[in-house]
Symmetry: C2
Subunit: 238 residues, 2 copies
DNA sequence: TCAAAAGTGTTCTTATTACACCCATGG
DNA sequence: CCATGGGTGTAATAAGAACACTTTTGA
């Protein structure tokens, strides 16, 4: 039985070269208040008019890591984004057009920095709060959950925010970012103590303007210290 | 340009269904002294007589997670192993027979528990110390490195050993296991203090026999405590 | 009696937690 | 003058790091 399956495989390797491969991108963004994700509204079948992760098929002569960047740019206009692989989904029935195995990639971007625009076969591109995502096309809810899970884990082992926040930000914004990812409230004093002790922040002599309360001091990231902590790792206990 | 690539894709989706998909298994074992990995010596082209990870192509009607278990059993006789996905490798030139994207799975087993035997198209199956692995077939060295990296990371976030050690073991064996994975020496007293404080070990009234030194006490894992700590996670600082 | 690994505690330092009030601004 | 979020410190507890000598066995 086992022997046979291997033998028949060797006899007819061609039979195996009938799958397609795709990539799907899970792009997280933060608007200073909420964690959001970049979705497209599909303009074609299958799943016409469903919201979906930006994703598409990989060319035969294209590395999968390269495909992730290309597909993201083609569908949303987002360019030059560092994408990291998360997980591969390969259940038999996951795509209606045939056997398609897909690999999910994720990234973090600052929403204000990027300009998204829908491309052909895409009706809309939009930032949707992670907590409000409804039914997506294909098995994309499962893929999103996997990527959000990875983000949650990651945030405890290295600093985050450089990619998600504007160049100048307040400590409260940084804290809200952590709270949206961890889905849990943090103590303000302990959070500040921890962040400031890591030497990844530079205190500016600038403050918020036009807010109806005491204006908050602005900070920026210290790129050198930030990189050092990313390499070394740290433990972010709550 | 971008528009065109998407349009041509829609016009001819069939062109994309020409890839194959494979799985490769990275099985770590521990013999009480050294961390080892299960390799096969290939009995056919390509890479005839090269050592390789046990891996093979996935059937069109087979989930990739299922394929990993099947392939491992077919090639090595190893059965009923819990395999976890690690990473997917999809560079264009990685397989000489065509476009093959592969997903790596890994597992931990107790070498003494399992009986491996080579199957058809496999000349040998063997346990090789991780530190002595030479040139492997395909891009399998890269895949092994990725999986070893994952194991190293994992060991700091949850207890390990239940899968790798015999039912009864000494604390020194457990420490050597951690040291082989972390590739770093640990302090004996601190290691014991930490392990014993986690309530995952049961002290037995049995001791090593026939050793030319003071015989060590034997322990077994407390399955309930172990599972609890696996769920909760812990921080293993060195 | 020697070699080899087992076994055992304390001190110091660092990190984590819990917790409450005054401040500056716009409306 | 009120509502809103900004900003600040300390004490108690827990976790981690460093470190050396005695014990038991087989050869």
């Amino acid at each position: 039985m086992q022997l046979q399956s291997i033998k028949s495989q060797q006899a007819n390797v061609k039979e195996f070269f009938k799958m397609a491969f795709s990539v799907d991108c899970v792009i997280f963004g933060f608007d200073g208040n909420e964690l959001k994700i970049l979705l497209i509204k599909r303009g074609e079948e299958p799943f016409f008019e469903f919201w979906a992760l930006p994703g598409n098929l990989v060319y035969l002569d294209e590395n999968i890591d390269d495909a992730a960047g290309r597909v993201l740019t083609e569908l949303t206009g987002l360019d030059n984004v560092y994408l990291e692989q998360v997980e591969t989904f390969g259940d038999v029935g996951r795509h209606p057009l045939g056997r398609v195995v897909t690999t999910a990639y994720y990234s973090l971007v600052n929403i204000d920095d990027v300009h998204v625009h829908p491309h052909s076969h895409v009706e809309k591109v939009g930032w949707v709060p992670v907590s409000k995502v409804k039914q997506l096309a294909f098995d994309h809810n499962k893929i999103l959950d996997a990527c959000f899970g990875k983000l949650k884990k990651m945030v405890r082992g290295r600093p985050i925010g450089f990619e998600l926040l504007p160049p100048k930000f307040t400590l409260s914004e940084l804290q809200r970012l952590y709270e949206s990812i961890l889905e849990q409230e943090l103590d303000k004093r302990n959070f500040r103590k921890k962040m400031l002790s890591m030497n990844i922040l530079i205190e500016l002599d600038e403050y918020q303007e036009g807010v109806a309360h005491r204006p908050a001091r602005l900070y920026k990231f210290d790129e050198i210290g930030y990189e050092r902590i990313v390499q070394e790792g740290f433990s972010f206990a709550v």
